[in-house]
Subunit: 127 residues, 6 copies
């Protein structure tokens, strides 16, 4: 497949998952300097890895939330929590991941992840 | 609930997930010095957090694999990869998590996680 | 021991260490969504591990400051710096931990920890 | 060499790399509490390790940017991005390091580093 | 560009940097399970990011050594130390990166990186 | 103070804490390549930071054990566990730090630290 085509199907999936506004805002944030990174995100992450079909999108979102919370990437956790809600994950399911996090990565990591999750839930009018 | 009861139901679930041999071997490895940590694992992790029912065990395993691989905990990743197989996750599903890892935590983290996964799959005669 | 009892003695110790206001503010911050995490903190951290008596509270605080600064958990470092002062640790003792940090976890980690410490000391009118 | 002399040549190099204002602001930020850490920075980092001559300053800056971005130290990354520009590194060279970061430490680390870099470039009127 | 072409030019560069034996050994290590990860490495890392020309290969190697040592990825550090030597970096230049690491990521990280570097230098008959 | 003098008093303290054999073995392990790092360790860590007197050596050891376990530096944890025993810390005190670790950095970090501790205790004939 041509990488341009791979980029475009990636951007399409990413837009579907997170909404056009969010994706365009992130693409614009770093201007021309950020273009090669946007290519990595669109063509390689969403145009390849996210296209795989062994796991449903909701389960991929669970994996992403677990991964980003464990790695301490709060900003990216926020993005994938929104994606998780979009993909049909419930607050109870997300809570369960964050409690596993408390036991396996420690209370401070879980506190940070809860803080981000509560912000997202409030923005989405879920609490 | 009494914490002893919570410990016992946790140990029962843990034994079901990983097998009696593995659990007893780990409990014995650190002798008396490790007893309070075993209590944390049995009563608080498996007796409380793992008892929650919002996520099926297979999805919890996906979250654990994602979390342990992201945090670089190879030994614990091995344990939870075995649990994932026990809970019905396929190699293709695990592969998909480890490819998300490559993009979101980097190639070296994915290399390490692949190395552990391949060892587990060979022990389980899956490759 | 019943886990409710363990929770209550944990909450009592936590309140003694950090003050009622701080504890209630944190408990309320995440609403119902945060209740299971508060249970982990109160019953398992403060109701079990912090109840052990081999180390005086001041030395536990030194360990917590070292651990949170090494792990880069700034918010939790702030909490445990306040606890350290409450438990009788001096600024000189804290400084010594943060200098060990500079050599063993690097200058950037020490810079971040100093920043948090100076904020805490100013809030407590110590500088 | 006397450590005072080592401190002074370190402070001189640090001032040359980052400008007097930035260095004095950081030295003042933590008051007396921060003096021993400033000694570590001036005498041991800039007075010893940075004095070595096997690598040109621009290449040391590339190494520092790579290291701080990989370790997730955003504040220190900012400092060393300014140093990199001062030492003659171009935006294209910095971009290349941050793209290696995307592949080897993951997209979220690269996103964070891009965010800091774009702030620095805007402050320096480069974009 | 077609991703197959991008993969092939990546594999060619990777083979040039690390030698055919090393690359084939790594590709074979994970069997079919590892093929998608090999695609990420060949097509996206070496076929795209490593193809960029703003930094000479020796400087990219310095950045990679800094990044892998800071992230604590010993196995990948070993690979990129070999690449650094192949790209013309001297032991003195590598030493300078590892001393910056000692000050900015701490002595234990530098000890681990020295251990890996000394193993590589001995394999390459440099010490 | 002359840095040579600072180095020598550092080496003296380090030898007292860990024994001549251990220190010489580590100094020799990296040959000439490791000499500048040994200078950092002897002159800056043990010749400066460890010379400070606000904390007793046993409490510094507690801080070091907490820090190294939290940062996942197993080899350095081993060194400082031996130092902790030498400085009069008991197994019960060390256990308490490792249980705080379980709650605040997670079960896998505590498992790894227990494994190292049990090895050290067996080498020292304490279990």
């Amino acid at each position: 497949m041509d990488t341009r085509e791979q980029h475009d199907r990636g951007l399409a999936l990413r837009t579907e998952l997170f909404g056009r506004d969010a994706v365009e805002k992130r693409a614009a944030a770093f201007g021309d300097f950020g273009k090669p990174l946007q290519h990595v995100i669109n063509a390689y992450a969403y145009g390849d890895v996210w296209q795989r079909s062994a796991l449903p999108l909701a389960t991929k979102s669970i994996a992403m939330v677990a991964m980003m919370a464990a790695a301490g990437h709060g900003n990216e956790l926020r993005v994938h929590l929104k994606g998780a809600l979009k993909n049909g994950c419930s607050m109870d399911e997300i809570q369960e991941v964050l409690l596993l996090l408390a036991l396996y990565c420690g209370i401070p990591a879980a506190n940070e992840a809860h803080r981000v999750a509560v912000e997202v839930f409030r923005e989405e009018k879920l609490m």
